[in-house]
Every structure is written in C-alpha cells, then in structure tokens.
C-alpha cells in the first residue's frame, strides 16, 4: 500500500487499484492553478509509475463472486475494425481473444495459451507448449496448427490477409513457424529478437480462429472469432458492441484472478465519444463503468466512483517534427521549438491531474527502458529558443511578431486527429503551445483532421505538415523499431512522421533488439532515446493514460499489460 500523490489529489494505490483518498475538491483545484506545486515533480512521477506498475498483478478475487448480470461499459472511441490495428480495437479484443503469452506491468512474461516455453542457446528458436483442450468460440481447436495458420496469415504478402502491425514487428525476424505436434509450437528466427515474447503478448498477436479468418478481412473486422472469455455477438455500428460470455472458457492467462468462464453474462460496450455524455452516463447509473475519465471530472470521479488508471508504455503523445523540410530540417529550429513552451504546465492545466507530463518524446514514462534524466529534457527556456532561432537565421519579423527568413514566415502547420488520437484535453495542450510559441516568433497553425482521413493518410503527405502529434502503444522499447526504422528498398516508414532516420540511430535500435545481454540492451535503447531527444526529432507531451471509473457495485475490473487494456473477465457485481 502506498500513497501516490499527483496534482494535489492523493490516491491510495492498493494492489493495483487507485482508490480515492479524502482529498477535497477545492484542494485539488487550487493545486492546479498554484504557481508552487505542492508536490515535488519527482514524487509526482514516482506516483504515476507506481500507479502503473502496481496494476501488474490483478488483485485477488473474492471468495464467492456473484455471477450473472450485464456490464454497461461506456467507451470513448469506436475503432474502424474490431481486430488489431488501433489500440481502441485492442481494448475490445482483450475481451474476446487470447494470446500466446501475457506480460505483467513489470515486464515479466507469463503463461497464457502457452503453458511453458524454451529458448535455444543461440536465441533463434522458441518452443512453446500449448494449453490442451482449448477451443475458439466457433468450435475450432486452438492448437499449434491453428497458431501456425494465424502466423502464416499475419505474415502473408497478401494485403487482405496480412496483419500489418504484426508484420512490422516480427516480419524481418521470423523464418518459420511450425507445429511439430498439436501441442508444440516452434518459432525459428533469422536472427535473435529479444523482444519476441513481449510483442507476442500484445493485441497485434491476438489468436483468432483460422476457420473464421478464412471468411475474409471484412468478416474478421466485423465479427472476429477468438477463444476469449467473451465472444462478439453483434457490432451495432455507431452504438455498441455486444459481447456475450463464453461458457466454455478455459484459457485465462496467469495474470487473471480466476480460471474458467467470466462471472458476468454480457458486456454492452457502448461508444460514448462525448465526454459529458460518457461521464454523465456514470452519474445517472446508465453505465457501470466508463473509459477515460474526463479531466474536468477527474477529482469528482475519484470521490464518487472506483477509479483505476494505467499509463501506457511505448511512445507518448509527442510532436513529431518534420525534419525533412524547412524549418525543422535545422536542428536548432527544432530545439528552439522544444524550448519555447511550458509543456509541463500546459499538460497539468489541460488534464487537471488526470494525465502526467512526458518530456521524453521517444519513450513513455511507464516504459521500463526510459531514460530518467530525459524526464526533464528541453525545459521552457525562451532565451535559449530565441538564441537558437537567431543562430538559425530566423532574424526577420513580420508586423505581428512572426519570425522570417528570406522573406518566409516561421510557420508550423500542426496536423492532428482531434477528438480521436488527440482528446479534447489534448487539443487544449496544443492550443496552449500554439500561444506560447508565438512569444518566440513561431506561427503555429492548428489543422484538425477527421479520424477517417487521418487513418487514410489524407492530407498527411510529407509536404503537408511541420508537426504531427501521435502515440503508439507498446510495452516499452520494442516500439523504437516501429517508430524509427529508416526507409529502405521502397519501404517508406509511415510511422516515422519526423522523417528522422540517421544510420546511427537504426544501428543502436537494431543492435539492441538482438542483444542477449540485458544491461547492454538497455544501454543501447537508452542511447537511442538520447540521440532522438538531443536532436529534437520529437517533442514529448503526455503518455496515453487509461482510466476506468466504475460504480462501486462493480468489482474487480482491472487494467492489463502490456498496453493498458480494460479487463472485464474477473469483474462481477456485488451481491
């Protein structure tokens, strides 16, 4: 048990649950506007990390939980597909699919469908023992052959079959996936990939029935068939997804609090995008739990409801500065932009204590490989920003104070998927940065893009922006490969919106991914982070932070690793 204070609100962290402590609302509010934060930054950070890590192991189940009932869950975003892709699909997938292995928040890989595994001395062969008598909800056996079929599909060159994200992670490494017998799975690698087990624990590798997969990508998107504690009954687009209990469930991960079928009969996974409506549904008891407590209601929610929170790993929401073209092709301009705003204060004000600041744009503060000293990188320093811009030749001024060079104004077009990848509170952070950057002569133009356009890449060409905020969830440093892999052989890494791809960076990341030695691997990952931050290729803002507020009668909802998925498998209603 520990006290994790943040933003003037004290939370009692009790075995993974962040419960509200007797903190007055007014106290919380005053601390938000205080010029002298009541809590030292280090303690704030420690509190957040503690809150995240403490959720690694689910709290013990009640001796005799009540069975039955329907959980009415109000979620924020509706994904375009119920399988893989965006993390919003991953949250639903966690209810209906199993993975080969599970990962705790402190980085341990524990059994799930694989009960045990061995790794060869050269780290190139992984052999898994598969849990017997597990079936997908369509009756297909979940054995090694089914997993081989899944891998073959994920890594297929056919775009209708391939799982793009799964391929990004392991496509280069895996040479063969075979099933020596129905309960033995063997994965052979071309070269060691020390992140393999971690990435296999992510929702990108959720196991689906090969029988259902053969129906095609549309069917997989609409009604994917897994082996999880619930199955997708129906997706009412724009409204909800109905998830029914799988009465034959027998494959819970080691992180779960019980084995066997889920306690509740059904989950109605409602899409309530509007913050007021979503939180209002909890207040009026129209929802039993909601996702993403709005910042303005954070203090109130902690007084009224059971609130749990987890800071997701991977990359935080950060501004990716387009290093391929002016003005951010000049590192001095990028560094100036990083110094020009009080990002910590902007995040604190916008999120009102619900979400922490994440200065290191290359890694979330909850990722175990993060460089701690980068938590204070690029502080607000207007003098330094002005000096750097002067050195870079941006010495002219327009009548309204915008800097110019060769007659061109210092304009930063900041593209963002508002209300989607960036919440309304996140957009407020961008507005504050926009205002503060003007003091140094930046003209920041906010350009919101609709969610569908964002995912379709509309208006996101290399010449369309100078900065883009985005996140990519992951457990930790395995994300570096995704974000910073350089373009090669016709491959253009769309996830590297910074277009920052020095050979030295990729050398560090590639070496780290294959390094056996834990300490050396950590050092390589951290050197990569320093290289990214020193070059101001990204400017950190805040990590994706998952919060779930639930009615007191709903027990044992928890947030899973590695990417903070809500878990309703162990949940039950109090008698």
């Amino acid at each position: 048990m520990a006290i994790a204070p943040f933003g003037g609100i004290a939370f009692t962290v009790f075995r993974g649950r962040v419960l509200s402590a007797p903190a007055s609302c007014s106290g919380a509010t005053s601390s938000l506007v205080s010029r002298q934060p009541a809590v030292p930054r280090q303690r704030l950070m420690a509190g957040f990390i503690l809150a995240g890590i403490s959720l690694a192991v689910a709290p013990p189940a009640s001796a005799d939980p009540n069975r039955g009932g329907t959980i009415r869950y109000g979620h924020e975003q509706e994904p375009p597909c119920l399988y893989a892709g965006w993390v919003q699909a991953g949250y639903i997938q966690r209810q209906y699919a199993d993975n080969l292995v599970a990962r705790t928040h402190d980085g341990r890989i524990v059994p799930w469908i694989a009960t045990e595994w061995t790794i060869s001395d050269d780290r190139r062969t992984y052999t898994f023992k598969i849990k017997p008598n597990v079936k997908f909800t369509d009756g297909t056996a979940l054995d090694a052959n089914a997993i081989v079929a899944d891998f073959n599909r994920w890594l297929s060159n056919d775009p209708d079959k391939a799982n793009v994200n799964a391929k990004l992670y392991v496509g280069d490494y895996i040479s063969a996936v075979t099933a020596p017998d129905p309960l033995t799975l063997r994965i052979d690698l071309r070269q060691p990939y020390e992140q393999l087990l971690t990435v296999l624990s992510t929702y990108f590798f959720g196991l689906l029935s090969p029988t259902a997969l053969a129906l095609g990508p549309q069917a997989t998107c609409e009604k994917p068939i897994g082996s999880g504690p619930f199955y997708v009954e129906k997706w009412n687009h724009g409204q909800n997804v109905i998830l029914k209990r799988n009465p034959n469930y027998n494959s819970a991960p080691a992180t779960a609090k019980h084995q066997g079928p889920a306690y509740v009969d059904e989950i109605i996974w409602k899409f309530l995008k509007d913050n007021t409506v979503r939180y209002g549904s909890l207040l009026t008891d129209e929802s039993d739990a909601i996702y993403d407590v709005p910042a303005v209601d954070w203090a109130d929610a902690n007084k009224r409801f059971t609130v749990i929170r987890d800071i997701t790993g991977g990359t935080p929401t950060r501004l990716q500065l387009n290093t391929a073209f002016p003005p951010f092709d000049d590192v001095r301009v990028r560094q100036a932009f990083a110094h020009v705003s009080e990002r910590r204060q902007a995040v604190d004000v916008a999120f009102r204590g619900a979400v922490p600041y994440n200065a290191n744009g290359s890694m979330s503060i909850s990722s175990p490989e993060r460089v701690k000293e980068l938590d204070a990188s690029d502080p607000y320093d207007l003098t330094a920003a002005n000096r750097l811009l002067d050195e870079a030749g941006w010495t002219g001024r327009t009548s309204d104070g915008i800097r110019t060079k060769d007659g061109k104004p210092l304009t930063v077009r900041l593209l963002y998927a508002g209300g989607s990848l960036i919440s309304s509170d996140g957009v407020l952070v961008l507005q504050i940065l926009q205002d503060q950057a003007r003091a140094a002569g930046f003209n920041v133009v906010l350009k919101p893009i609709q969610q569908a356009d964002w995912f379709a890449g509309k208006g996101r060409g290399p010449h369309d922006y100078e900065a883009q905020p985005a996140y990519w969830v992951a457990a930790g440093a395995e994300i570096l490969k995704i974000s910073w892999r350089p373009d090669h052989d016709g491959f253009v890494n769309a996830n590297n919106a910074s277009r920052f791809q020095p050979p030295a960076l990729w050398k560090l990341i590639a070496a780290a991914d294959s390094d056996f030695d834990d300490k050396e691997r950590l050092k390589l990952y951290q050197d990569a982070q320093r290289l990214i931050v020193d070059n101001a290729a990204v400017v950190g803002l805040f990590p994706l932070t998952v919060s779930i507020a639930s009615q007191p009668k709903l027990k044992d909802v928890w947030i899973s690793g590695p990417v903070s998925e809500p878990v309703f498998y162990d949940a039950y209603f109090e008698k």
Binding site: T276, V296, V349, V427, L428, Q431, Q434, D435, P448
Partner: protein, 299 residues
Amino acid sequence: MSSTSTITGTRLGFSGDFRRRLTYVVTFVTSIPVSVYVAAFILGGFVLAALAPGVLRTHDPFRTDLFSTLQAPSLSHIFGTDQSGRDVFSRVVQGTAQSMAIGVGATTLSMSIALTLGIAAGLGGRMADSLISRFLEVMFAFPNLFLALLFVTIFDATTATLIVAVGVGTAPGYARMIRGQFLAVRRAGYVEAATALGHSWQRIVRQHIFPNAMRPLVVMITLGLGQSIVWASGLAFLGLGVAPPSPEWGALLDAGRDYVVNAWWLEVMPGFAIIVFALSVTVIGQHLQDRLEGRFHPV
C-alpha cells in the same frame, strides 16, 4: 409611402409644412416598437464588435493564462475565463466578425442559389419548373444538416467551407419559397391586367412580378442571417467547425461542452451571443415584414 405622397402633394405654408413633417417623424419614431430599437442597438453593438473588436474587448482573446483557468464571471472577466485562462468575453467579441461573416456569406450564397432556381422555376415554364422542382425534391430527401456535414467532411473545415456548406444546405428551402412566391405573383390579378393591357412580358416581369415577389425576401434574408449563424454553430459544435483557437461562436460552444457542468459560462455566454444576435435580426426582420406587407402603419 402613400401618406408621404399625400403630404408632399398638399400646398401648405412653411410652418404648417414643418409641423406636419415633424408630427410625421415623431409619430413614425414613436410608433416603432421599443423592441425594434433594442434589437437595432444590439445589432449595432455586434457590428461594432465585428468591425472594430479592439474597442470592446477587454483582454487579448488568444492569450492563455494558465494561472487563471476556468474562473467564473467576475468584474475582471465579465464572461469568465476558459480552460486555458483566455477571457471569454473578449473571445466572444473577437468571434463576432467570423460568425457574422459566416451568416452574411452563407445567406448571400443560399439566396443567390435560391433566386436562380426559384426564378427559373417560377418563370421558366412548365418544363423548367418540373425539372427544378424534382431537383429540389431530391435535395429535400437529404436532411439539410446532412448536406452541410457532407460538404465539411469532404473539404477542410474553414470559414469559407462553412459558408458554402451552410449556404448550399439552406438554399433548397429558400428556392422552393421563392418559386412559390413567383408563381403566386405571376397569377395575380394585376399581372393579368397588365397582360390584358398589352404590356410586354419583360416589362411585366420588371415592373410587377419581380418587385412583388421579391418583397418577402427582405425578411427571409434577415431571418436567414441568424439561422445561418445557428447552423454554423451547430456544425462547429459537432466538431466540424473552424480550427482552434478560432473564437467563432460555434467553436466556442464546442470547446466548452466538456465543461458544461463545471463551468457553465463556457456554454452559456457564447450561446447567449448567438441567441441575442439571432433574436435581434429576427425582430428587425419581422418588423420589416410587417411594414412591407402593409400591416404596419406608422401614421
């Protein structure tokens, strides 16, 4: 107008003429409802805010103050402050020009489209009427908001896009009204009389049909102004408005909706501006309608 011609047509002495004119002016002025004066005064304030916002605003509408966020209305911030400490009154004032531009622009566009279609249908003969009417019916099959949403979704949400979206979205309704008006006037007795007298069709259209059919449009334009602003605000509230930090009124409503329970002034104050503006133009529009339709006799 007939009263004026009667007075000017009468031979009177200077003092009598002046007294009669003065009496007319006083009667005219005092006969106009107070509500119209109030509306005109308020509208004048909005025009001032649009043309010279610096005269009215009390703070920099774009300057954030992270130590003064979400402050309730007070003497220092009469409309309160928003989530990033910006003065809401100054933002409402600053947003007037953009909101009015959308109102005027969208109304102008919708009236232009509506006039073209309405006149062509009303005066163009049976074939043209049939074609245009079917086209308008197809347009009516889509909710007006859907048309506007479609437009904003396809193109970027800018002030110009909003003008076009709202203008196109509202045009079919106006077009049908104009068509009906022209058809009604075309069949009026005085048009038949002019035809019987042998006047040319161009002369009949110019002297009889057009002035009489267009008269109600003056009212529609004033009503359309307020309606367009409400429409644009609605689109902005749905997240399809102009990009932040624009203080366009609808964008202000959209930005404040997460705080509707905790900071009522973020929704109430811009909403109040929209309502007052729409009410003002409506009151003036209705008064003009009464005058033009002869229901208002000042003297």
